[in-house]
Point group: C2
Chain length 241, copies 2
């Protein structure tokens, strides 16, 4: 039985980062297919995924070439991770300090974002995330009570994303995040150990499940100096210029 395309993709990615440099040409598709013991279709699928990820570049009649490889998923903002997972991915020492876990009536703004009736009940979680023992972010997460009540055990600490996926049995897809910058107010300044008015990076997002239900409202404020956040930008394939 042939291995899955996703397996080949991961192995290929590993091989590329280990043995190839930007500009190098990869072996031809039939050669790769033989090397990985899969069909050419599977190799092509893996290569296409790598191409849309910006790792390689395929040119008709010439070959497949390695691009400048971005060190992915280290403080990345464009993959769907919560703050805790983001800090973990960047290999920083992680600490989480839970400020509150309450079931409350949602403030108007959150209720709107989650498509709940006014004052609908949500599970509200407020945490401070420590990276290398210094406060790096403050995160407010709100989960509709209808979703949170599915959980087998109540939220304690750790990643809210993992809680939703593992405890509530949800499939998360991602969503649009609004990124902005604000000055720190008095409370945040105290909690994050910065001066009042210092600029913070603000990330607001509504997470949706596969069935298009809003399952998580998330508002995060990062201290930019203590955590390096990156996004991978690449050209849309096939967009005519």
């Amino acid at each position: 039985m042939g291995r899955a395309a996703i397996t080949v993709r991961v192995e290929l990615m590993q091989t590329i980062t280990d043995h190839y440099r930007p500009g190098d040409r990869l072996p031809s598709e039939p050669e790769l297919a033989a090397a990985y013991s899969v069909s050419r279709s599977t190799i092509r699928e893996a290569l296409q995924a790598l191409e849309t990820d910006g790792v390689v570049r395929r040119i008709h009649g010439l070959g497949t070439f390695v691009n400048q490889v971005a060190p992915r998923v280290a403080g990345a903002l464009d993959v769907d991770l919560g703050v805790t997972e983001t800090v973990e991915a960047a290999n920083q020492r992680l600490g989480v300090q839970v400020l509150r876990v309450d079931e409350i009536a949602a403030p108007r703004e959150i209720a709107e974002r989650l498509s709940l009736p006014p004052a609908g009940r949500v599970l509200l979680i407020e945490r401070i995330i420590l990276a290398n023992d210094r406060p790096a972010a403050i995160a407010v997460d709100a989960i509709p009570q209808a979703i949170a009540s599915r959980a087998t055990t109540s939220y304690e600490d750790g990643s809210v994303y993992r809680f939703l996926e593992r405890q509530c049995g949800l499939v998360l897809l991602g969503g649009l995040a609004h990124v902005s910058a604000v000055g720190s107010d008095k409370r945040m300044a105290r909690l994050l150990d910065v001066r009042e008015g210092d600029a913070l990076l603000r990330l607001e997002q509504v997470e949706r499940s596969a069935s298009d239900d809003a399952v998580l409202y998330s508002l995060e404020h990062f201290v930019p100096a203590r955590f390096d956040l990156t996004i991978s930008r690449h050209r849309q394939a096939g967009v005519t210029r």
Copy 2:
């Protein structure tokens, strides 16, 4: 002759946004192949691209389903666009005010980022971008002189990206952008018509060409209140947990 996969992908995307709602199931791959007069391989390639873009979700044995479709490329930070193109994409009234276009010796920091020798010469462009007649961003772009001198005509105004692609004949791939937040200094406050100390969104990026040459250093400061910037976040396909 069958049409190209990229064509099918664009048409499929259009059809989905026009005629399908989140959660809907698409016709089966053989049906789509017949409908678009291409082979199943081509349809699958298009569907895979849409899946990695987060538009659809394929489930083995069940079908292909439409996700919540993100309104793409409107103030998006995760696609590789300059400020001017970003403002254009968001359908805002665009204005560009060029502050300076100079060939200078690169400051140490910029020289490092561009892998130039100390005090290597760069074409430095500083602009203010107006959205709806209000200053929305200030952008500093530095292009190595070796690159800029390829241009058929010198830079006047408009998108620096278009200048690099059209005038210098480069193929741009994208790169990693560092996103941060800073307080406005006195000069920026005056230029952007904000108060000194007001939080600005800071985006720093080095753009690389296909041959892995650093071709553009870009530093942008956005006024968050005047321009809504979003990034599309989605789960990495196939990441086991």
